[in-house]
């Protein structure tokens, strides 16, 4: 059957085409308008919407630089760790989720309840809450296996000290956000901190990178590494010896600094202190050797004597009439032992650590020169270490000297120094009269692995080489014949000085309520005396019973000096006639071995202890 067409249609055959054309025009017009709205006017919104769907930005953490000892051993490293976080708005049953997390996280009921409160999105309204920061991999894996809703992970770096608390007071610590809070971590925080990077990639719906998609990388910058002058082995031995002596003497604490005089490099720096509450001896985070001052006592006498030699007032052989006590202003100073008034040589004054003799030399110098030389030796101002909270010491202004100052200060009372300052003063004598600033940083290593050596500080002359040489000879006598005998070691000439100082108490004065004095025992020295390679200061705080520097601090010095010579492979320059090798008259190998064998037999019989024979 033929289709029925209207007459109009039959009459106007182009009408259909016109209607279709109009329809198409309207359709395309609508599409065009929509296109303009989407692509033009509303383009930015859709662009950002699309970008957010397919572009992923990954923050690349800038790792914190490591801290190494002088031989490249890790002392502090940062490792990526997973942090567990939650979006509380996605958690319907916070109590159950908290209970599930408590197992792998090891939370007790109280901590679990706190966590449940944090996970309750209805009360907090927040979309982010930490669950646990920087957990172990095993813990993170266990939590991930739970597949809990609203629980996510992010990566953060955590600081580790592989050697435990070794050099803790030097290294310092970082907070939870990896910012340095103390020690070198604080001092070099800017250098150690890395710079975050960013990776922008185009991903599919499953967050996989699209082939050929956008890929924009701004690489993270690793922080610089620090290479310290510290030697890990020396540091360990120093801490071991110091701790053992503090325990043995029932002391309240102690500090030791070991250095190379010629370069100012600090090889070891140890600090121990008893916990105020528990009384337990702990490796304190406070680098007391740099931040805490003490009255040094007799070790300070070398400054006065060196000043007098430098000024040409006397020589080591000059005789001075020394009574056993001396009135200075309103105080009577006395020597440790009673003795008749005698002619003491300067050498003897130092060897026997005569207070009166030293005061008489100081009186020859006068207060101005005493004050001047104390400052030239580095007292009264912080060293060049720049260590956080470093103390400058307490040194009276010349104008503030009292009548007794000229008696007290030369013998190390009424003056306060850090252990580091005192060691540097002795290093001046070891260095032929030059003050070489101490340093803890040997080099830095940038993010590309390029090592940049840190130069030594600029030396300055304090006394002449002649004066330094004379002082070294007298200090050798102190150890060989005087108060510092316990600081000597076989085969080496050791130069050193003992010091035993009354400790000022916090409430003022030197005597406690029971009328007792508290003491600081210390010993400073260097060896080999003829060409010093190692210098050490040992300070023991409030030893009980035996209080003297020569018997409390000097043995620690001897232990460390012996170990240090072996570590640094410094052979003895000659065989001395003292010590355990006294029988080896000409130092031949056969005789030495024979003496060693005799010693071994004797020691075994006497104490049943082993004798190690090493090079």
């Amino acid at each position: 059957m033929k289709p029925v067409r209207s007459a109009a249609t039959r009459r106007r055959p182009h009408l259909r085409i016109g209607i279709i054309l109009v329809g198409l025009l309207l359709g395309f017009g609508g599409i065009s308008v929509r296109l303009v709205l989407i692509q033009g006017l509303g383009g930015d919104e859709y662009t950002s919407f699309g970008t957010s769907q397919r572009m992923q930005t990954i923050v690349l953490p800038g790792a914190r630089g490591s801290i190494f000892d002088r031989n490249g051993n890790d002392l502090a490293v940062s490792l990526p760790q997973r942090t567990i976080w939650a979006n509380p708005t996605l958690i319907d049953r916070p109590v159950e989720v908290a209970a599930a997390l408590a197992g792998p996280l090891g939370f007790d009921p109280a901590a679990t309840a706190v966590l449940a409160g944090r996970l309750d999105g209805r009360s907090s309204g927040t979309q982010f809450a930490y669950v646990a920061r920087r957990v172990d991999e095993s813990v993170a894996d266990a939590v991930a296996e739970l597949k809990l809703p609203g629980i996510g992970f992010l990566e953060e770096s955590k600081r580790f000290t592989p050697a435990g608390v070794l050099a803790h007071s030097v290294l310092g610590s970082v907070d939870v956000d990896n910012l340095g809070q103390s020690g070198l971590e604080m001092q070099y925080d800017k250098a150690l901190s890395g710079t975050e990077g960013e990776l922008v990639i185009e991903t599919d719906i499953r967050r996989r990178a699209l082939p050929g998609g956008e890929y924009e990388l701004k690489a993270a910058q690793r922080g610089n590494d620090l290479v310290l002058t510290i030697d890990r082995s020396m540091q360990y031995e120093t801490e071991r010896a110091l701790r053992a002596q503090i325990e043995a003497k029932g002391a309240q604490g102690g500090m030791v600094v070991v250095s190379r005089p010629a370069t100012g490099e600090i090889l070891a720096l140890a600090n121990f202190q008893r916990d105020a509450e528990s009384g337990e001896l702990v490796a304190t985070g406070n680098n007391m050797a740099v931040t805490t001052v003490y009255e040094p006592g007799s070790v300070n006498k070398v400054i006065t004597v060196a000043a007098a030699l430098e000024e040409g007032l006397l020589t080591p052989e000059t005789l001075i009439k020394v009574p056993d006590s001396l009135q200075v202003s309103d105080h009577r100073f006395s020597d440790h032992d009673n003795h008749p008034t005698e002619d003491y040589s300067v050498d003897r004054i130092l060897t026997e650590s005569s207070n009166v003799g030293t005061i008489k030399i100081a009186q020859m110098l006068g207060p101005d020169r005493v004050d001047s030389y104390l400052r030239r030796f580095g007292f009264g101002k912080a060293t060049d270490l720049g260590f956080p909270h470093e103390a400058a010491g307490i040194l009276l202004d010349r104008a503030d000297y009292s009548g007794t100052s000229i008696g007290a200060i030369p013998i190390g009372q009424g003056i306060a120094v850090t252990a580091m300052q005192m060691l540097e003063a002795y290093n001046v004598l070891a260095n032929g009269g030059l003050y070489v600033p101490p340093r803890l940083i040997l080099a830095t290593v940038d993010s590309a692995g390029q090592r940049h050596s840190t130069p030594s500080g600029k030396p300055r002359r304090v006394v002449s080489a002649t004066t330094a040489s004379q002082m070294r000879a007298m200090l050798v006598n102190v150890v060989a014949e005087g108060t510092g005998k316990r600081g000597g070691i076989t085969g080496y000439d050791v130069a050193g000085k003992t010091g035993t100082a009354r400790k000022p108490l916090p409430q003022g004065g030197y005597q406690d309520g029971a009328g007792n004095y508290h003491y600081v025992a210390n010993f400073v020295g260097f060896l080999p005396a003829e060409d010093p390679e190692l210098s050490i200061i040992v300070v023991i705080d409030e030893p009980v019973g035996d209080i003297f520097g020569g018997t409390v601090a000097a043995p620690v010095f001897a232990d460390l000096a012996q170990y240090g010579m072996r570590l640094l492979r410094i052979p003895p320059p000659r065989v001395t006639t003292g010590g355990t090798l006294a029988g080896a008259a000409d130092g031949s190998a056969r005789e030495i071995v024979a003496v060693v064998e005799q010693e071994r037999v004797r020691a075994t019989a006497a104490t049943s202890t082993a004798i190690a024979v090493g090079g």
């Binding site: 490792l79 996989r208 031995e237 071994r600």
Partner: protein
């Protein structure tokens, strides 16, 4: 011969009666006309060429698809390798820390003491009869620096 003379020539030979009627054209549909065949020959496409072209198009499309697949596979492999790299770097750092812990003097001393070793109360050192004999370089000197320069660049490789 000029045109005038030609016309005169025709007139002289034409008959004296009326001109004969034109022959009648054959009957044809209104608007149809004869189309003179073009002298150009119609282009005859070979079936083999058509099939070949189609195959070529399919092959190209298939090739593009395969290339895309390889690209995607490559990207996946790249992602995997990057993840592996990060994982291995993390593992390396962890192992480095573990090694440092194992090398730490406190652990070694503890392990030695566990085996019954003790620190002697008195240590006696042998010394050479010739003090001027050549000795090994000091610790932390050239040896350490050389070892460092070899190892350190590997330790401080830039983060990904």
């Amino acid at each position: 011969m000029s045109p005038l003379s030609a016309r005169a020539q025709v007139s002289s030979v034409a008959p004296s009666r009326a001109p004969a009627a034109r022959p009648k054209a054959p009957s044809r549909p209104g608007h149809l006309r004869v189309v003179v065949p073009s002298k150009r020959r119609r282009l005859r496409v070979s079936p083999a060429l058509v099939v070949g072209s189609l195959l070529l198009v399919v092959a190209v499309a298939f090739g593009v698809a395969i290339a895309q697949v390889f690209l995607a596979q490559g990207q996946v492999r790249l992602d995997q390798m990057e993840a592996e790299l990060i994982s291995e770097q993390s593992r390396y750092q962890t192992l480095r820390k573990d090694v440092a812990e194992l090398e730490s003097p406190s652990r070694i001393v503890a392990a030695a003491e566990k085996q019954g070793m003790v620190v002697p109360d008195d240590v006696v050192y042998l010394q050479p009869s010739n003090p001027d004999a050549e000795v090994a370089p000091l610790s932390g000197g050239v040896e350490a620096a050389t070892a460092w320069s070899t190892v350190k660049p590997l330790l401080a490789a830039p983060a990904p």
